[in-house]
């Protein structure tokens, strides 16, 4: 039997396996590969709302360089991403540490439950509630609270003042205990072997020393995972900003994803918007690669 016949008989033998794979591949070909390829192609075209595309080479990318709103959106997303990383590396981790250090198992369960609970509230509701909290006087919760405390000079139009709108956006979600991140840290802490914890105790390590010398190095994998997840999520998720400020006032809180959306659906510049999508793709691939490179070395197991 020659190799071709061999392959043919194998193919015939496993035709039903391909049938099982067919639904998955049909879905990803039609709704993932095709649109992704189309995005890269149309980034080099002028593509209007009627769907007519003309090849323009690198024109869209050149325009991006001089588009001051796009440049401002890059600066904003840089700040937002840095803040998001700081938040996810610190606050859920602290919450997980505190819960883990509780003596009672039931206490651990209930604090975990309560801190995870917000996950059931749809994202749009969380955003709308925070928009209300940061709303104008007299009904905005934050301003009402400052009124109550007699700190009227601290009151602001939090989301409407171009000078502080971006800072206000960063404050949303305080105290920033992301439920999934906390569960991931908690699982990481649970996986630290009891022997290591015992040993650090017998060595006379204080809880602070144990956290710094044992827990944090052993949570390295979790940190790395969350850095990658958070980077990818933050760069592409602009629904929250759309609801919160719509990029305003002016373009004080504009982010690339939202600008892409507005260029496409408000200005009918679908090719230009596709080019923004391609820039985001490249940025994400680059950041993921850098993360992997930087964080590869120090994998720790005791």
């Amino acid at each position: 039997m020659n190799p071709t016949q061999n392959l043919w008989s194998e193919l015939r033998k496993s035709w039903h396996l391909y049938l099982f794979l067919a639904p998955t591949f049909a879905f990803i070909l039609i709704f993932r590969y095709y649109p992704a390829g189309s995005a890269v192609f149309h980034a080099f075209t002028r593509w209007n709302g009627a769907g007519i595309a003309t090849w323009v080479g690198l024109e869209n990318f050149q325009t991006l360089l001089t588009d001051f709103i796009f440049v401002a959106s890059l600066k904003n997303i840089g700040i937002i991403l840095a803040a998001a990383l700081v938040k996810v590396l610190i606050f859920p981790m602290l919450a997980a540490e505190f819960i883990f250090n509780l003596r009672s198992e039931r206490g651990q369960y209930w604090y975990r439950f309560l801190l995870i609970l917000p996950i059931v509230v749809p994202g749009i509701v969380v955003t709308l509630v925070w928009r209300f909290i940061m709303g104008p006087r007299p009904l905005g919760v934050l301003n009402a609270l400052l009124e109550l405390l007699g700190l009227t000079e601290w009151q602001h139009a939090w989301l409407a003042d171009p000078k502080i709108a971006l800072i206000s956006v960063l404050l949303v979600g305080f105290p920033w205990i992301d439920a999934i991140a906390m569960l991931i840290y908690y699982a990481g802490l649970q996986n630290i072997s009891g022997d290591v914890l015992d040993a650090s105790r017998i060595d006379g390590a204080s809880i602070w020393e144990r956290v710094m010398r044992v827990d944090l190095p052993l949570l390295f994998g979790q940190f790395k995972l969350l850095i990658i997840i958070t980077t990818i999520f933050t760069l592409q998720n602009f629904g929250g900003m759309l609801v919160l400020t719509n990029g305003g006032p002016g373009y004080a809180t504009m982010v690339p994803g939202l600008w892409m959306y507005q260029r496409a659906f408000l200005a009918d510049r679908f090719g230009y918007a596709s080019a923004i999508g391609v820039v985001l793709l490249v940025a994400m691939l680059a950041l993921t690669w850098i993360n992997n490179k930087l964080l590869k070395e120090a994998d720790v197991t005791y």
């Binding site: 193919l11 496993s14 396996l17 099982f20 794979l21 639904p23 998955t24 591949f25 879905f27 990803i28 039609i30 709704f31 993932r32 095709y34 992704a36 189309s38 995005a39 149309h42 593509w47 919450a95 505190f98 003596r103 309560l114 917000p118 996950i119 059931v120 509230v121 749809p122 749009i124 509701v125 709308l128 509630v129 925070w130 009904l139 919760v141 009402a144 109550l148 999934i180 569960l183 991931i184 649970q190 022997d195 290591v196 914890l197 015992d198 040993a199 650090s200 017998i202 060595d203 809880i207 995972l225 990818i232 602009f238 629904g239 609801v243 892409m260 959306y261 596709s274 999508g277 005791y302």
Partner: protein, 294 residues
Amino acid sequence: MSTISTSETATALSLRPSRTRQPRHVSNFVVSVVLVLLVVLTLYPFVFMIITSTKSYSQFLHSYWIPAWPPHIVENYVAAWNQIRGYLINTIYVGVLTVVGFLFTTTLAAFVFARFRFPGKELLFGSLMILMMIPQILQLIPAFMWVRKLQLLNTYWVLILPYIAGGQAYAVFILRTFFRSLPQGLFDAARIDGARDFQTYYMVALPLSKGILATLAILRVQQVWNDLIWPLITLADDSKRTITVGLYYFQGETQTQYGAMFAGYLIASVPLFLLFLVGMKQFMAGVTSGAIKA
């Protein structure tokens, strides 16, 4: 590190039957106070939402921070329910069909990748996995143009089909790892009993993976429940809209009905809350055992 060298001694010297984390240097009291504070700060926005959802507009103005008497619960919740009922039903419909289609396709593919050898396997698996590197935002614009061409705009399918396609790579990866870990003996036994490949899938593999399926289903439903942009651009017809889009516009329509507005927010959270009450144990175990770690 010194901790390693002492760990054996530590176990040897340990007189207690080793239960590891016992005496702590920071008092439980301090830890509890911090945790209570964190819980209060985290949940307060939602508590405010619940309290406000029971007030009339004038009650909200006059007693801003505290509950008011008499409560306007029925009035506010009926008003909110009438406004968002349709959106809620749409979302549940879309969510159920998405999850069914999603689990059916991903389990089949993962099962084949986990337990069979066939020509082109590596190539096919790789071409699926590479999707994890391609962010959804890249395809937002062309996907819109594409579904418009396919005349799917303003139908439920414009949500369901892309939602099924959405998390394939990740779910197949997780499920394949799981199916691989099942003992071969179970499949052999089923084969001896005369089961064919497809029968071993739904008689052996599926029943053993309820936990992981529940976790994946919850994650998928949560994503459907939270998506704003895609339904916003593809559903112009109000009667087809899902809950996120409904709530997004709901804000604009009711100028001063804050009670009803917050009641609507709460009603929108109930289905996921129920889902989590049922699946919370599964979900926490799933996350802990690595369903979320890619």
